[in-house]
Amino acid sequence: MTEPLSFELSRPAVDPPRLPEAEVDSPGPSDVLPQAALRSRPAGLPRLSEPGIMRHYSRMASLNYSISENFYPLGSCTMKYNPVANEVAAALPGFAALHPYQDEDSIQGALELMWRLERALCEIVGVERVTLQPAAGAHGEWTALRMIAAFHDSRKENRTEVLVPDSAHGTNPASAALSGFHVVEVKSGADGRISLGDLESKLSPRTAALMLTNPNTLGLFEREILDIAEMVHATGALLYYDGANLNAFMGICRPGDMGFDAVHMNLHKTFTTPHGGGGPGAGPVGVKADLVPFLPTPTVERSNGHLTFDYRRPQSIGRVRSFYGNFGMLVRAYTYIMAMGGDGLSQASQDAVLSANYLRKLVENDLEMPHEGPCMHEFVASAHNLHDQGVRALDIAKALLDRDFYSPTVYFPLVVPEAIMVEPTETESKATLDAFAGAVKEIVGLARTDPQALHREPARLPVGRLDEVAAARRINAYLTGQSQDPILRWKAPSEQTAEAAERIPHETSC
């Protein structure tokens, strides 16, 4: 089953919606503005009735897997249940209807929420202050690196390199490069943890920071984190924490205590704000005292119970987003933290670790386990053992989709061949974990008896495996002018032919 595009469903006979009339006797745009400034023909928006719209989007919704219906064991992504109360809180008119340029006196409740959320996050990760401005994790990473760069600049130190482990998320090196740093890779040892020897050889007076996540992307806690921190700090560099894996240890330990100087958090992972099909999220950054002067402006300050925005921060890296960040996501995260409390957050992390180790145990004989346990909140398996049958991690992923499970993260981290990265989170029941392990067992069995069957999966979804190679070829043909089919957008078939023949000027006015 597939759904036509809104553009394909559009009918010229559909009347526009009834909207307010001007009620005032003033001239309209075409009476006042010069012809050259006006649009020459109406935008090609579709014309659908409200019932048509609701059906269209309801049918599209039914084509999705989502955390509300499916288990999403996506390693590194922390797909946990999104409490519905969060949504209700963010939609309260007292939050949703606030204009960002209202006077501070009229938004004391919102500022108080931001202040309390900042304090809570400081406590959870062990830092001095937090900026709530970054809109996403990658945005937070980059913000942290800008602060680290500003810190070294303020000390007149020319540090140009950022060290990134080979198991790191792709955003780490990208954020470092966009912040003006040269990226130097640090190797993992055989046990899946950062190689101290390699780290030592890469550290130098040029090193600005080491970017690390702990537990690392293999789900393993860096046991020697205190030594690592000491080595990094001894060279005058700083330690940056990638908060993708924060769900592993809330209330158990803290990045600040491990020696990290800057810590980013993903509210959409650890603090249950929904992923929205790929955003909006929020990526606050916490910093130790040395980095506080460089925080983005404005910060929220509280004195005698009165809250204000502070724009006068001379050493600040400036502003990284308009207004004050994704405020609606801050409301959701705050609501979650309130409901959970310190005890609940701590329990959540312990349950996440328990779930991961339990599931790891259940599938350890079906897939390869390249590293020794215990793991923290996630583990990385490998489908390398099915290589002889011609079955790859991708096949396992697609077969799981056919069994109502979203797939784990595959082919990441890059250091494990045929990686299958599983993060069950604390919000899944034992029954779900058992069912998932059962599905893995069945699929691996099938891989041994009838591997061809796996290559045909998924067969029960709206579409089968899509030919991305052919799609890429067609995009290339379009971009190089060999084809008129735009691939990256819809165009009326007649319009494509017309444009191919000749560009005809349109004179219709709207």
Partner: protein, 417 residues
């Protein structure tokens, strides 16, 4: 579960964490029931002042607009809001198709070839566009022409510093200029000569980046018509609540020659073995998870759900509904402008310039005026002197379809009183 794992307690699973790092407990209040949580959160919400839509005349990048009920009905479907980034295409066709429709809607509005899946907001969209121009031209200066939203420029500067991109204000592009960035209508609501600015950019071998108001494009010539290379903007007006400034949605569209430098996600069509059409993430080789430090942007998600809201909004409105909204806003703002200009001591700040539905007016004792309006429950104009020294005493007023004629009368009664 512990027994299956083969350990005796949770402690056995946490052995890798050094004892010296272990925490006794978090110094946070204990957990609450949903009832208590909501009572506390609602109490915070109640400490904020909510101005009614019809009595809000403040814009500056975030506007009150009529939001059709269908928007929230769609975006609150858990299949949309609790889905992840569509890595597994076969199980994410709803999200992927929604993004594909959004890309087409933005491409149609801006009259450019290709739009991406969305960005965080208008400010970061401007910064990402500047980055594209920097990479495309190999030049390291971007020129900000006229009154571009001051916060967008601040974000642009912060982004630029990491890459050695210099941000200069002016209208005279030179040999080092990678792009000329202008806003149409500008931050004050005034129309700029987009055609001339685009031409000036091209004459200097630079790209033209137009930061546009999406609703204005129902009236104004779109960037593709006057030859701009990249169009960006903020999509909050397309069905999103003000929400103290976010989450909203940025958009970016460009000519096909620049597509490989577009940041963020792109969705394209593809087919399965049975020939059925589906949607996939396309041109991923541009992105950070493949190119790592060589990627030209670190963006790995977008604002999908906000983009979905925008798509529902634009589909609900259709070409003529959107035109109606823009037209009503235009007429009301001109009506208001004409009347406030007659108030004693008030004058339009740029009487020779055209505007759509937001305009600057020079006002005696601006702060006192705003306080007086607030006392009467009206959120008055935006004091733009806060950002621009030469605009001290200037307020920008905005009208949209939510500010009915009676609301405009009410505003004027208070101002005259």
């Amino acid at each position: 579960m512990l027994e299956t794992i083969g350990v005796r307690s949770m402690e056995d699973l946490l052995v890798d964490i050094p004892q010296s790092l272990r925490l006794e407990s978090l110094q946070l209040p204990a957990g609450l029931s949903e009832f208590e949580t909501m009572a506390q959160v609602s109490a915070l919400a109640a400490r904020n002042r909510v101005y009614p839509d019809r009595l809000t005349f403040r814009g500056g990048g975030v506007y009150r607009r009529f939001i059709p009920a269908a928007v929230a009905a769609v975006t609150s479907k858990p299949e949309f809001y609790t889905a992840y980034t569509p890595y597994q295409a076969e199980a994410s066709q709803g999200t992927l198709q929604a993004i594909f429709e959004f890309q087409t809607l933005i491409a149609e509005l801006t009259a450019l070839d290709v739009a991406n899946a969305s960005l965080y907001d208008g400010a970061t969209a401007v910064a990402e566009a500047a980055m594209m121009a920097y990479v495309h031209t190999g030049r390291n200066e971007v020129l900000v022409a006229g009154y571009v939203h001051p916060e967008y420029v601040q974000v642009l500067k912060a982004f630029g510093e990491g890459r050695g991109i210099k941000v200069r204000k002016g209208v005279d592009p030179g040999k080092k200029t990678a792009a000329v960035i202008f806003q149409q209508p500008d931050f004050l609501g005034l129309l700029v000569d987009a055609r001339a600015l685009t031409q000036a950019a091209h004459d200097a071998g630079a790209l033209a980046i137009a930061c546009v108001d999406p609703i204005s494009l129902a009236i104004l010539a779109p960037p593709g018509e006057y030859g701009a290379d990249i169009a960006v903007g903020e999509g909050q007006q397309l069905g999103l609540q003000p929400s103290l400034g976010g989450p909203h949605v940025g958009f970016i569209a460009c000519h096909k020659e620049l597509v490989r430098k577009l940041p963020g996600r792109l969705v394209g069509t593809a087919h399965d073995a049975q020939g059925r059409r589906g949607f996939v993430l396309a041109l991923a080789a541009r992105e950070q998870h493949i190119r790592r430090e060589k990627a030209t942007s670190n963006i790995c998600t977008n604002h999908s759900l906000c983009a979905l809201a925008a798509s529902v909004y634009l589909t609900y409105m259709g070409p003529y509904g959107l035109r109606q909204v823009a037209d009503v806003s235009f007429r009301r703002a001109h009506h208001l402008a004409e009347r406030v200009a007659r108030l004693p001591g008030w004058e339009l700040a740029f009487p020779e310039r055209q505007f759509l539905n937001e305009f600057p007016v020079r006002v005696p004792k601006a702060p006192a005026v705003l306080r007086k309006l607030a006392r009467k429950g009206i959120l008055g104009g935006l004091d733009v002197g806060r950002w621009f020294r030469e605009l001290r005493g200037v307020l920008t007023f905005t009208c949209t379809e939510v500010n009915d004629a009676r609301a405009i009368d009410q505003l004027l009664e208070v101002l005259a009183g």
